[in-house]
Amino acid sequence: MSSKINKEMALIDPIYPPQVKKTSREGFGKALVELGMENPNVWAVTADVSASTMVNWFEEKFPERFVQVGVAEQNLAGVAAGIASCGKIVFISAYGVFSPGRNWDQVRVAVCYNDVPVKLHGSHCGVTVGPDGASHQALEDIAITRVLPNMTVVVPADAEEARKATIEVAKLKGAAYIRTCREKTPVFTTAATPFKIGKANVYRFGEDVAIFACGPVVYESILAAERLESEGISCAVIDCHTIKPIDVEAIKYWAEKTEFIVSVEEHQVNGGLGGAIAEVLSEFKGQCVLKRHGINDTFCESGTALELLKKYGLDADGIARFVRESYTTR
């Protein structure tokens, strides 16, 4: 392991190559069963995607607490809110493009304005949805959820973090959104890796650039940082899993230390993690620059997950290139 990796975070060692790849939605599915076993008030509702969003494990074990509403995401949110109002903790599970998205009004009013414990699981987010193409690739979901009052937004970096995130959001009084992916990505955190909502994890230390990333691109960012180290650019990598409430202290610390933050996300560069950091950063005195890396205000397309990450510069090479170019021309 590079000496710059933060040992306290108990990441896999060595960081490369990854031994295990899983989809982050599996982490959610596994946690949901754990929650179901511990708490008889946990329910799950899905809109025709029980198997592909990994709610089917919960459905098999707890059929009396599972509801299938069919392809009806607006009803999904409303029914969940009705169930939650009876003292239940309800997870609704669908693809991120449709929930939130198709049911944003319902999430806004029936869930957030009613302030009930409905937790959204938006799966199949980012470009790694792959061949289905743009209509199914959620690239705007972080933007439309973080803007809602009473909503917590978490983007786990791997299946293990998704598992922890699911368990933690269940403890919250109100609404939450967890964003997961379709593709198998490296599981690089371990059970011992800390996870606290609102507290970003520093996975790698560095002095020149602070990369704030969320989702599976956190791992790609670590690999990019290892590469850039040998070029003389020292990058810290921060897993900013909670977009709301965002870790203001972490942003402040790294802004002061490096004066150069790069945000990396599988999301439009407007309104997501980058936007959230920009909002916080602009209130600090100081010289810190923010460069936002993600999808540049475009819809993507069909392709394999790897091809798309490569084309849109979100694999390790692409992230390294973006950091190199923006840092050397700062």
């Binding site: 009396e64 509801v67 509403v69 069919g70 009806a72 607006q74 009803n75 949110a77 409303g78 029914v79 969940a80 809110a81 009705g82 169930i83 939650a84 109002s85 009876c86 239940k88 009004d105 319902q106 009013v109 029936a110 304005y113 009613n114 302030d115």
Partner: protein, 303 residues
């Protein structure tokens, strides 16, 4: 006119052991409905904004609900055994607030705070603001989904409480409504009773001109619901229909309540404009006068 067709027995609901006693005297119920109408006129006049036609039209339905049909306790709005009432067409909330106040949920003076800054009586009902409100509504077509969620829990956990939902005909335009209708039938929610305010108006005019709904009863039957059509101003019919719904256990019930928007206020009846326009000074005075006259039918001279 109050009709006595000799079938009073259907009004004799079993008095609940817990919660508010049910009123079975029709004359009293009609007088309460009239009081609620007057309160709505006063509230909207004071607030200078709001939706009179639907609210005034639903006074009889809400009287039936709060004073006879619902098992509830105004002094304990969170009583776990209560029937749940979800108002989906939230813009008519003045009639719900007026019914709640009359039933004793809060002092009647508070009705005049409707829509004002700091009021618990928000322009569209807010679950967090006022005890007794089960759902924040406003966006049309959402309430039925909420009611269905509650009914699913109640059915699976074998609760004795029922779920009621008031909705409007205009709301049938929203696709979400039908998503909920399909799901309620899937789960055979015999513990769910929905009352639709069929007043034939929406913002841009008559429903059958904006987006025709007929044949509406047939639509619900095709979706495997039990359908009852009633005169939405006949309190006995409304109560009888709710009692009939309790006996239908394998499907949800839709009670289509045919109403006259702005009922009993001469200049409002049948006029679509009054969907969202509050009465001004002169109009409020005329309206209250009209309503006061109505009380004579129930054997009352004055307020």
């Amino acid at each position: 006119m109050v009709e006595d067709d000799g079938k009073q027995m259907l009004l004799e609901a079993a008095q609940p052991e817990v919660g508010m006693k049910k009123i079975t005297d029709l004359r009293r119920l009609y007088l309460i409905a009239n009081t609620i109408r007057k309160d709505v006129v006063r509230m909207l006049h004071e607030a200078k904004s709001g939706h009179p036609a639907g609210a005034i039209g639903l006074a009889d339905v809400f009287t039936a609900l709060y004073f006879n049909v619902l098992n509830h306790d105004p002094k304990n709005p969170a009583w776990p055994g209560r029937d749940r009432l979800v108002l989906s067409n939230g813009h008519v909330c003045p009639v719900m607030y007026a019914a709640m106040a009359e039933a004793g949920y809060f002092p009647k003076e508070e009705l005049m705070t409707l829509r004002k800054l700091g009021s618990r009586l928000q322009g569209h009902p807010h679950r967090g603001s006022l005890p007794g409100i089960e759902n924040s509504s406003g966006p049309l077509g959402q309430g039925l989904s909420i009611a269905v969620g509650m009914a699913i829990v109640a059915k699976r956990e074998r609760k004795s409480w029922r779920v009621y939902c008031v909705c409007s005909d205009g709301e049938q335009d929203e696709g979400q409504t039908w998503e909920a209708v399909l799901l309620a039938a899937k789960f055979k929610l015999g513990n769910l009773t929905v009352i639709m305010d069929r007043n034939n108006i929406q913002i841009d005019g008559f429903t059958e001109e904006v987006l025709p709904l007929e044949p509406l009863a047939e639509k619900y039957r095709a979706f495997n619901w039990h359908v009852i059509e009633v005169d939405g101003h006949n309190i006995k019919q409304i109560i009888d229909a709710c009692n009939e719904a309790k006996r239908v256990i394998d499907r949800p019930t839709m009670i289509i309540a045919h109403t006259i928007p702005g009922k009993d206020v001469s200049f409002m009846e049948f006029v679509a404009d009054w969907h969202g326009k509050p009465p001004g000074d002169k109009e409020a005075t005329t309206a209250l006068g009209d309503l006061e006259e109505e009380r004579k039918f129930y054997g009352e001279g004055g307020e």
